[in-house]
Amino acid sequence: MSSSSLFTRPARLAAIAPYLWMGLFFLVPFLFVLKISLSQTAIALPPYTPVFDMGEGWEAIKAALAALSFDNFKLLVSDDLYILSYLRSLMVAAISTAILLVIGYPIAYGMACLPQRWQGVAMMLVIVPFWTSFLIRIYAWINILQHDGLLNQVLLALHLVSAPVVWLSTDSAMYLGIVYSYLPFMILPLYATLAKMDPALLEAAFDLGASPRQAFWRVTFPLSLPGVGAGALLCFIPIVGEFVIPDLLAGSDSLMIGQTLWLEFFTNKDWPVASATAAVLLLLLLAPLLLYDRLQRRQLEQS
């Protein structure tokens, strides 16, 4: 037995506590989401009627299965409100991810081109905002974008506009907030792949007569695709379920699904519909989640 395999068994034992924790507090709760989404709304505390009680044996379970209610899911597909929310969320996430990619790529590329000693500093500067509160950063933008905020003051002073522009409660403000909040999540994976790239490949392309543009599109960009994929998923998945940013920056005429879920839960106190909304959202995100899981595993286990 080699000494490294001596290390393997105790290392496996280390998995027990986190395994149980994540099982109980991450996996099992999804079963409750499913269960509540199949139950009827009730005006009580908690505001749903329990579907079944395990203690009452097989007969009770059979009776409960017969009483399972798909009403909440029927509501989701029959009411435009929900379908439009899902579509809007997917669209907002797709557009935001595209903008993030277009903005984040040149920044990541610029970072990878810096002299080595400056790369660490630049990376630090990109990570720091990620540590600073989401909420505070969105609030900072409300300060700037409000009716008599700094942006309008500057625009008026420069005579670029003749009257204050409405920025808050618009889709532009929401996209700005999303791009602002998620930019570090796009830059870091892109930078990680670009920084690892062998400069000899580019030199070879130049030696073979490629123009800088050709070298970028035929060598650099294809090689950076894993980073593009990781960055895109890291942004797309959470943006689909985003609540805070659209709630504070976008108008209230069309809602993202995170807002709809929040409204059902906190305002309408309709837990079963909120659970059904969450279950469908999870289903929509399953494919990108699995893809992300594979990328993450490959990345962490290669190093």
Binding site: S3, A11, P29, K35, I107, C113, W131, I142, G241, Q296
Partner: protein, 271 residues
């Protein structure tokens, strides 16, 4: 790509500078306006500390801040313990049974929309008949942040030379001793960085805390959020500046820790 300094074109520098300005300017403006004497948030009325004193006299806000700090410290400590164990299992445990599910459960919360995590945890707490408040928020935040700790520590463990542990065991250490005497000191800075990341993430969270807390135990983000919905108030600028300052201290400590970590990693490599 590092050696190709000559490709640092004006375009690259502009992209980088604009990007960083975009990331930092709003926060800088927020901090400056927190010292504004004028009640009108947008008019500059000279320097003043009155919004800070208003915050320190606002007992509901202070209670929320205290609650947030306690939740963040407790959940970060739990998350660091569990996340480090998870990282050790993933990077040294080989291909054990259920490994795929284990790593999936650890990576999924990193991107899972918070409304889903929050709602599902709340339904669990209700089913367990747990009283909602401090501990339910601590459990919720631990569940989220231990995944970040696991990723940070796992990256460090992956970069570590395994021959060090093997050498310790060849010299007669049992695995536990080898871990405590060799591995742990080498990964300690990244464990510390993980704790601080968990702390700031917990301090920051609005959505999961809103779902899992009970009446009378609002966290700071919950209070800030309900104030912000009513409009911009100078007192909020002051609170946000204090939070940013606290996080800045944490970041400086964490970056020092990771510097030490890198230095140790390098000096350990030739062994």
């Amino acid at each position: 790509m590092a050696s190709a300094t000559n490709r640092l074109s004006p375009f690259n520098i502009t992209a980088l500078a604009l990007g960083l300005a975009f990331l930092y300017l709003p926060i800088v403006i927020l901090i400056i306006y927190s010292f504004n004497a004028s009640r009108l948030v947008t008019v500059w009325g000279g320097w003043s500390l009155q919004w800070y004193s208003e915050f320190f006299n606002d007992s509901a806000m202070i209670d929320a801040a205290w609650m947030s700090l306690r939740v963040a410290a407790t959940s970060a400590s739990l998350a660091t313990l569990l996340g480090t164990l998870a990282a050790v299992a993933l990077s040294r445990g080989g291909g054990f049974k259920g490994r795929t599910l284990f790593s999936g459960m650890l990576y999924a919360p990193l991107v899972m929309p918070e409304v889903i995590t929050g709602l599902s945890l709340l339904l669990l707490f209700v089913a367990l008949n747990a009283e909602r408040g401090f501990w339910t928020v601590v459990i919720a935040h631990t569940t989220l942040t231990m995944c970040f700790v696991a990723v940070v520590v796992q990256a460090r463990l992956g970069a570590l030379d395994r021959s060090l542990e093997e050498a310790a065991m060849d010299l007669g250490c049992d695995p536990a001793r080898a871990f405590l005497a060799v591995t742990l000191p080498l990964i300690l800075p990244s464990v510390a960085a993980g704790w601080m990341l968990a702390f700031t993430l917990s301090l920051d969270d609005l959505v999961i805390a809103s779902f899992t807390t009970g009446p009378g135990s609002a966290t700071l983000p919950i209070r800030i959020y309900s104030e912000v919905r009513l409009g911009v108030k100078p007192e909020i600028n002051a609170i946000c500046t204090l939070v940013v300052a606290l996080i800045a201290v944490v970041i400086v400590v964490a970056s020092l820790a990771s510097k030490i970590s890198d230095a140790r990693g390098k000096s350990a490599a030739p062994l």
